[in-house]
Amino acid sequence: MNAVIESSGLTKRYKDRLALDNCDFRVETGRIVGLIGPNGAGKTTALKAILGLTSYDGRLSVLGLDPFTQRHKLMQDVCFIADVAILPRWIRVREAITYVEGVHPRFDRAKCERFLSATQIKMQSRVRELSKGMIAQLHLALVMSIDARLLILDEPTLGLDILYRRRFYEQLLNDYFDESRTILITTHQVEEVEHILTDLLFIKDGRIALSATMENVAERYCQVLVGSEKLELARSLNPIAERKMLGKSAFLYDGLTAERAQQLGEVHQVGVADLFVAVMGGGVT
C-alpha cells in the first residue's frame, strides 16, 4: 500500500516545551484515521506540520512531498477544514464558490451547487448570516467538490448540534470517501466518529501512544464484564483498566486470548472511548 503520510522522528519544539516528541507514524491510502488525544497532546501541531504550516525536526513526507518547503504544491491535493469558524465572515456564498473555482484546478462547481441545493443555504447570503451548522455545511460542500487525495479535518463539528454532526459524517462517508482518498480527523467527540474510522492514532504528551487499525484493536483488546466472584482472577491477568458497570466490573485487556476472556465473563468489543481512557489514563482506576 502507498503511504499518504509518513513520519519518522517527527519533533516540534516550542520555546519552553516539546509539542511533538520523536513521532513515527504512517497513514495509508484509503483509510480514515482518527488522530485522538487530550488537549495539548500535540494533535494540532501534528496537523500543522502535515499541512506545512509549521516547521519541524525529523522526517515527514505527505503525498511524497515535504510539506513545509513544498506547501504550495501540496495544497493542490490536500484539503483542510479547521473548526467551523474559519470561513471569512464577509464573504458571500456565491463569492466563496467562485473563489475556490478560480484558484483550485480540481474544483467542480456543479457538484458544489448540487450539494448546496440540498441545504437551506442561499447563494447571496454572507457567511456571517449563516448559522454555525450551515457554515460547516458550506465548508464541507466546498471541500467535497475538490478532487483531493487527502482531507484533514480538525474538530470539524465542534459546537454543532447533533443533527448537523450526524449529517456531516454521513455525507462525508456517502458522497466523498472512496479507496483513493484518505481522511485524517481529530475530534473530542470520539463516539461519533468511531464507526467510520479504519485506523486509530492516539497521541499523548507529544508521543504516539497507539497506532493501530480498527481490526487490530478488535483482535488485541477486549472488554470483559466480570462478576464479583471472579474479581481476583480478573485482576491477576493484568487488565489495563477496570471500572464499575451495572453492578459488575468491566475489565479491559490487551492481548488476552478469547478462551481466557470467556472464562472470566461476558466479552464485549472495546469502544474507542474506553480504549482511549485506558491508554491515556495510565492504568487501573
Binding site: 500543522k48 516547521s55 490536500v78 484539503c79 477544514i81 474559519i86 470561513l87 473555482e101 478560480g102 484558484v103
Partner: protein, 323 residues
C-alpha cells in the same frame, strides 16, 4: 510564482469583494456629497435672492461682468483649478482608505482565523501579497478615477445649469473652457507614479500588518515616532543629519499621499515647517513624468520591495501557534 492568470484574477476579485465599500462605493459617494454641497450653495443663493431686495439683479450683474471682463484664458484656468481642486478630495480619501487597507491587509484574516481557509487553497503567500499590492497601487486608483470622472462631469454640468438658472451664459462662463481630458490623463499618470513613490509606505504598512500579533496600527506608526524621539536626543549632541534625510523621505510621501499632483513641489525644511506651503499644481505631463527620473523615487521602490519581501516571509514561515 504566479501559477496562472485565472488564479491572479480571482485574488483581485477577492480583494474587490472584501473592500467594495471602501474603494468602489466611496468614490461615488464623494461625488454625491460634492453635488449635495453644490445644491446647498445654490439653495442658499436662491434663498438670499428671495429675501434680499436687488440680490437677483446683483447676481445677474456679476455674471454679466464676468462674461465681459474675464478673459478666456482666466476662465480656462478657473475651470482647470476646479477640476484639480475637487480631484484632491478623491485622491486624499483614496490615500487614507489605502493607508488603513494596507494596515489590515495581512492582519485581519489572521485575527478572524480565516487565514486557515485562505491557506488551505493552493495559493502561495507571494501571490497573496502581490495581489494585495496590485489592488492598492492599480485597482483601487482605477476605481477612484471612475468615481472622480463621473462626479466631476455631474458637478460641471450642475454648475453650468446653476449659471443658466441665474440667467448667465453657462457656455461662455464654464462649458466652453471645460477640457478635463488632459487633467484626467495627468491624474491617471500621476496616480501610477504615485503608486511607485508610495511603495515604501505601502510596503512598510503591509510589513507591520504581517508582523503584528495585535494592534497593527500601533506597529505601523509607533516605530517611526519612537525613532523621531530618539533622534531628537541624538540630534542635540551630534547634529546627526541622516535622520533628517529619512524624515524628509517619509514626510514627502505622507504629504504626497494627500496631494499626489504636488510632487514637483519643493519640500525643503522651511516648507515642511510651514505646513507644506510650497506646493503647486502640476500643469503638464512633463511635470508629471519628470518625477520618474528622480533617484529618490527608485530608491523608495527598492526599499518598498524589501519591506514587502519581509511581509511575504513572515506570512509564509512564521508559526503563529502557541501550542
Amino acid at each position: 510564482m504566479i501559477s496562472s492568470a485565472k488564479t491572479f484574477a480571482t485574488l483581485i476579485k477577492r480583494e474587490i469583494w472584501e473592500h467594495r465599500g471602501g474603494f468602489i462605493y466611496t468614490p461615488l459617494i464623494i461625488g454625491a456629497v460634492l453635488v449635495v454641497f453644490l445644491l446647498l450653495g445654490a439653495g442658499s443663493s436662491f434663498f438670499w435672492q428671495l429675501n434680499v431686495d436687488g440680490a437677483e439683479a446683483m447676481t445677474k450683474g456679476a455674471l454679466k461682468l464676468a462674461e465681459t471682463n474675464v478673459s478666456a484664458e482666466q476662465m480656462r484656468m478657473g475651470v482647470d483649478a476646479f477640476f484639480w481642486g475637487t480631484s484632491m478630495v478623491w485622491q486624499s480619501v483614496l490615500f487614507i482608505t489605502l493607508f488603513f487597507y494596507c494596515i489590515g491587509s495581512l492582519y485581519d484574516d489572521r485575527r478572524d482565523r480565516s487565514i486557515l481557509f485562505w491557506k488551505s487553497m493552493p495559493v502561495s503567500d507571494l501571490e497573496t501579497v502581490i495581489s494585495k499590492v496590485v489592488f492598492a497601487i492599480l485597482v483601487a486608483p482605477l476605481f477612484m478615477m471612475v468615481g472622480l470622472i463621473v462626479g466631476q462631469i455631474v458637478l460641471i454640468l450642475g454648475a453650468g445649469l446653476l449659471v443658466l438658472a441665474h440667467g448667465g451664459s453657462a457656455w461662455q462662463l464654464i462649458w466652453a473652457h471645460t477640457n478635463p481630458f488632459p487633467i484626467w490623463g495627468q491624474i491617471l499618470v500621476a496616480q501610477g507614479i504615485q503608486a511607485l513613490f508610495l511603495l515604501p509606505l505601502y510596503g512598510w504598512l503591509m510589513l507591520a500588518s504581517s508582523f503584528a500579533r495585535g494592534k497593527p496600527f500601533l506597529w505601523a506608526t509607533l516605530p517611526p515616532v519612537i525613532f523621531a524621539i530618539m533622534e531628537s536626543f541624538v540630534g542635540f549632541t551630534t547634529n546627526f543629519s541622516l535622520s533628517k534625510v529619512i524624515w524628509e523621505f517619509i514626510l514627502r510621501r505622507l504629504a504626497s499621499g494627500f496631494a499626489p499632483i504636488t510632487f514637483s513641489a519643493d519640500f525643503g525644511e522651511q516648507s515642511m515647517q510651514a505646513g507644506f506651503s510650497g506646493t503647486r499644481f502640476a500643469s503638464s505631463f512633463g511635470d508629471v513624468l519628470g518625477r520618474m527620473t528622480s533617484a529618490d523615487l527608485w530608491l523608495g521602490v527598492l526599499i518598498g520591495l524589501g519591506f514587502l519581501a519581509g511581509a511575504v516571509y513572515l506570512r509564509r514561515y512564521r508559526d503563529e501557534s502557541t501550542g
